[in-house]
Symmetry: C2
């Protein structure tokens, strides 16, 4: 089935005008009804999901797991929508205000971005999650999910659209591409003038493709080659606890640590303690020459290792002679995501905080806290690793723009 | 001469690391020296400018005027750099801070964007202006000016680099492309991973080319099809004064008004007053049928007129029967830049402010105030007409990003 992207873009812009003017209570009312509609249509959704699963023969079991919906998972998705109801609506917030030398009163007010595009992969829950967050912030959304979840996604969107139609909300507030070809995805990435921002969610490969091909503005999310630097003034036990947590609590995610950088004055004493702490989790350690002189059984870390995000039970260890060398190494190889120093030294902590170039820089804490929920945002659209518009965990605020309202009494410019 | 863009990108990133760590007083010291260096090298700069002007045979006189530098203009440029010294440095500002449920103390701190690309046209003053603003905010800059100003621009950059070298600042803080071919410009627009943001400054055509071709993030600046809506509750004299100012005070710029939208209940009374006020400035009026019924001598406004930014002494007039119709018309045809309502009615002013989709929405004031200086920012990099990262006049703050600093005491994620 062919999608007419230009028409979809125009329809989304039209819907966005209505959405931008809805009150918070109207938006919350719709979201509550959407949660109910998902529960009501559970059987149809599961049926379509079974059809998708039937077409998924031969795919990896982890992939099939991400694709699968059952009654319990649909209930979780519905509860997720209800949680968005409870979040504060940023639209209308005044960021700042002042009076100019010409006696104009200016306020900078939060407004929706307009039309958001989402390109994602197997998980059908992203379909509903993306709608809930973009709708709460008054944006229209155009979705392009993975082809393996197409029938499920269409059914989920239909359950949402039913509520929109019944409540005189433009149903083009949410649209989904029925054609999941690369050609149509590329058309979507080129929809300049219609899509205000495109957010890819998924594998590093997907994100790279979008960043390299999109002509519309993109927020880059994802890749995390995160380091824990164990300073010469670190406590061994704290270092080991944080490294174990940052590596093993959920190794597949972007805020998991991939590298240990350790000061040479404590390496000999600490590395055996850290290695012993990681052993029960079967973490494969790789090291430079100096690390291997202390831990002779570990594998060699090559140049390629320093820049690799393993997202697996693997860590590489580098021994350095100074904080400066650690900072230089991290700034060279990191993906600007999350970096942590373990130290009891004040000056070193401040130097690390200021000189490391990353979205989130930690002292004495696990990189696993880089997360919209843990940050207290109540939601997470993704974690931006770029510097424009949003950096780090993105909550509802990052789905908004601003406009200036200027109130005068007849001013003209001299 | 060929430029190796990848090498330039790497050098800029390297320089950006040093720049991000300079203190405000260090940066101000360098800027003062740059102003002095420009004065000292006035003769060489004028000489190179004469060579550029010698190659500019056959170009329009307005173009040649923009290209020309003399002693007085170089002095103005030097004073401009000294004015940047006086601006507050946003780097290090804490936007907000809080404690999380895990007792992590998070602060969101302003940091440089990193590497900024500027693509611009004839005016050589942009070369120095771009350096001063990006340097003040701790960013490295890669410049690509117009080919007609190449020798002048190289000489200006050399006057800056001399100061950088003498003060142990990486001279790659500013780099300029020597090859002004389209091929090299396209390479610059594709320098993903090296350039954090590209800002085009110049004609609508230049900006369109950059927006449509760039793979690096772009901030779209420029085009302004701005409207003045004369409400049924407007004062005729205020409406006329503001329209005259918004059209004629400087018609070539993006915040000049291009359209009058007027309520039918006051059109018959007000339009002759407005037309009379515009007459001394030789403004050509074009109108829809109803406007021409009141002002029979004016030309016909076609469908194409409604979407056109004239940047000339031309205005088109549309008569509407309601505020809603005015808002619908403006939201359909505007370029999201600056729009103004003239009214004494409170409810209408608020409706216009909230429902018009534009960077700057005015009540009872000229659109000509959309300007970084008039807004009180002390500088202007451009006026963003996009919604991502920055919208409206951009000052120093818009040349920055943020990072999160997270201070813990051993926290791990459960």
């Amino acid at each position: 089935m062919m999608d007419d992207l230009i028409t979809m873009g125009q329809q989304a812009q039209q819907a966005a005008q209505q959405l931008s003017q809805l009150s918070t209570s109207q938006k919350n009312h719709i979201l509550k009804l959407v949660a109910q509609s998902l529960r009501k249509h559970t059987d149809e959704i599961v049926e379509k999901n079974n059809q998708d699963l039937g077409n998924a023969d031969g795919l990896a079991s982890s992939f099939v797991d991400r694709l699968t919906l059952d009654d319990e998972r649909i209930e979780q998705i519905a509860v997720g929508v209800e949680q968005v109801v409870a979040l504060q609506d940023p639209i209308g917030d005044i960021d700042k205000g002042w009076k100019t030398e010409d006696d104009l009163y200016i306020t900078k007010q939060r407004v929706p971005l307009g039309v958001i595009g989402m390109i994602y992969e197997a998980r059908p829950n992203v379909t509903v999650d993306a709608f809930a967050l973009t709708f709460k912030t008054g944006n229209a959304v155009i979705l392009r999910g993975g082809k393996e979840a197409l029938l499920t996604n269409i059914q989920l969107v239909e359950a949402i659209k039913e509520v929109l139609r019944d409540n005189d909300i433009d149903e083009n507030a949410v649209q989904i591409l029925h054609d999941t070809s690369h050609k149509t995805a590329n058309e979507m990435m080129s929809l300049t003038g219609y899509i205000d921002v495109l957010i890819p969610r998924g594998s590093a490969r997907l994100i790279k493709t979008v960043v390299e091909n999109a002509k519309v503005p993109v927020i880059e999310t994802g890749a995390g080659n995160c380091h824990i630097y164990v300073d010469e003034f670190a406590q061994a036990q704290m270092a080991a606890d944080i490294i174990v947590n940052a590596k093993t609590q959920r190794p597949s995610v972007c805020n998991a640590a991939e590298k240990i950088v350790i000061h040479s004055s404590v390496a000999e004493q600490f590395l055996p303690i850290i290695a012993a702490a990681l052993k029960p989790y079967n973490v494969e350690l790789r090291g430079d020459e100096r690390a291997r002189a202390i831990l002779p059984d570990i594998n060699v870390a090559t140049e390629e290792d320093w820049g690799t995000e393993y997202t697996d039970y693997i860590m590489a260890v580098k021994v350095v002679d100074s904080l400066d060398e650690a900072i230089e190494h991290i700034n060279k190889y990191n993906t600007k995501h999350s970096e942590s120093i373990i130290t009891d030294n004040y000056a070193n902590s401040e130097k690390f905080l200021q000189r490391i170039d990353a979205a989130c820089v930690y002292v004495n804490a696990s990189t696993r806290f880089t997360d919209g929920f843990k940050f207290g945002f109540g939601a997470e659209i993704g974690i931006s690793t770029q510097k424009l518009h949003a950096r780090g965990p993105m909550g509802l605020n990052e789905l908004t723009s601003t406009k200036y309202l200027i109130r005068g009494n007849g001013q003209i410019r001299e």
